[in-house]
């Protein structure tokens, strides 16, 4: 599987989303939905869902997925 290459702008966005999982930016520790954006050369608009995970008060990890809707499934 080829390595996923990110542009500098995309990498900055990735980091931005990552930072959103840290406690200062997300004190209630809720899942965070990004606003819609273009990425990955997809012909559509993505949103990213980031889920922080704390364990015993320690920020252990964050999960994120990029999701895109499909026009053809609307009707």
């Amino acid at each position: 599987m080829a390595l996923l290459k990110l542009t500098e702008q995309e990498a900055a966005w990735e980091k931005q989303m990552g930072y959103q999982a840290f406690p200062p930016g997300n004190p209630r520790r809720l899942p965070a939905w990004s606003s819609p954006y273009h990425d990955h050369d997809q012909n559509g608009i993505l949103v990213t869902l980031t889920m922080p995970l704390d364990f015993a008060g320690y920020f252990f990890s964050a999960f994120a997925i990029d999701v895109i809707g499909e026009h053809s499934q609307l009707d």
């Binding site: 599987m1 390595l3 996923l4 290459k5 990110l6 990498a11 900055a12 966005w13 990735e14 980091k15 931005q16 989303m17 990552g18 930072y19 959103q20 840290f22 406690p23 200062p24 930016g25 997300n26 209630r28 520790r29 809720l30 899942p31 965070a32 939905w33 990004s34 606003s35 819609p36 954006y37 273009h38 990955h40 997809q42 608009i45 993505l46 949103v47 869902l49 889920m51 995970l53 364990f55 015993a56 008060g57 320690y58 920020f59 252990f60 990890s61 964050a62 999960f63 994120a64 997925i65 990029d66 999701v67 895109i68 809707g69 499909e70 026009h71 053809s72 499934q73 609307l74 009707d75």
Partner: protein, 305 residues
């Protein structure tokens, strides 16, 4: 079908919370929602400035969305989309019309599963089920990255800006993504250091498996080993979920393009799905998820505690 028209006034972020809820509730009552944004938005000074290089004015250029986050349920995403005054008009029309009730269900399904994953990982961190997998030698250096050595080779370290030597102590991003503040420190390499700093004198169950006396050796006293081992288990669950939904044939569809997992201490991996596998929520599943939506605030509170 509901057709909604927004003007500059009712797109204002100064909308009262009750008004936003009313709009969301109304939209969710319809299977299809077509949202029309009237041209006055682009004629308005602030909105035109925000729209910048986008869409109708310069249709050949891509829209530049503001990087603003919405915390909470998928419904909050809709509210954000509606209240954001970003906007390439045409793009936003497409975006909002995409996020119909069916899509809320699909997004809610994804959210719900992510919560399940986190629940699984919490138990894993606590109980240390994955110790045996440490012997597998999960990663090996490859082309400047660390690569999964298992046959499927699903995960690769590609996270730009995440360091092998630096730990992110604190990060704070502005809501619009225009700036961020990051405090870093040396990466914590050993479990002895990590546990001493963050879990000193902890006792089960409020104690990670690797911090229980005598267990650090099972991970070779390596933070990277512990994070890798624990997160890999959940990554596999996530992959199975995505692949399973991709095989489903009915219902509303969303594509999950990429997954990312990372820790403040430097572990990062991704499951690049490009060009994307289709994750579907069948109607029964969607209905079930919808019924769960109202419980999400409770779930959030539980997981946030």
């Amino acid at each position: 079908m509901l057709i909604v028209s927004f003007s500059m006034n009712n797109l204002s972020p100064s909308l009262r919370l009750s008004e936003r809820h009313t709009i969301s509730t109304m939209l969710m009552g319809f299977r299809s929602v077509l949202v029309l944004l009237v041209p006055v938005i682009l004629a308005g000074g602030a909105m035109a400035a925000d729209a910048g290089t986008c869409s109708l004015l310069l249709p050949s250029r891509r829209c530049c969305f503001a990087k603003q986050f919405s915390f909470g349920s998928p419904c909050d995403l809709i509210e954000t989309v509606m209240s954001l005054k970003l906007i390439g008009l045409l793009e936003v029309l497409n975006t909002v019309s995409l996020i119909t009730k069916g899509y809320i269900n699909a997004y809610a399904g994804v959210t719900y599963f992510m919560f399940q994953l986190i629940g699984t990982l919490k138990l894993t961190v606590q109980r240390g089920y994955c110790v045996d997998r440490m012997a597998e030698g999960l990663l090996t250096p490859a082309q400047g990255n660390l690569k999964d050595t298992r046959l499927d080779k699903l995960f690769q370290m590609f996270y730009f800006g995440w360091s092998e030597t630096t730990r992110i102590e604190m990060a704070l991003a502005t809501a619009d993504g225009s700036a961020s503040t990051v405090a870093t420190g040396p990466r914590i390499a050993t479990l002895t250091q990590l546990c001493g700093r963050f879990h000193a004198n902890c006792t089960p169950p409020a104690c990670p498996h690797y911090c229980i006396a005598g267990n650090a050796a099972l991970y070779n006293n390596s933070v990277r080993n512990a994070e890798m081992c624990l997160l890999r288990m959940v990554e596999n669950d996530l992959k199975n979920y995505i692949d399973g939904l991709a095989r489903s044939r009915s219902g509303t569809a969303v594509k999950i393009l990429t997954s990312h997992i990372y820790t403040p201490n430097g572990y990062a991996s991704g499951y690049p799905l490009l060009p994307g596998k289709v994750a579907r929520c069948d109607e029964m599943h969607a209905s079930y998820i919808t019924s769960l939506l109202m419980q999400f605030d409770v779930l959030f509170a539980l997981y946030g505690s």
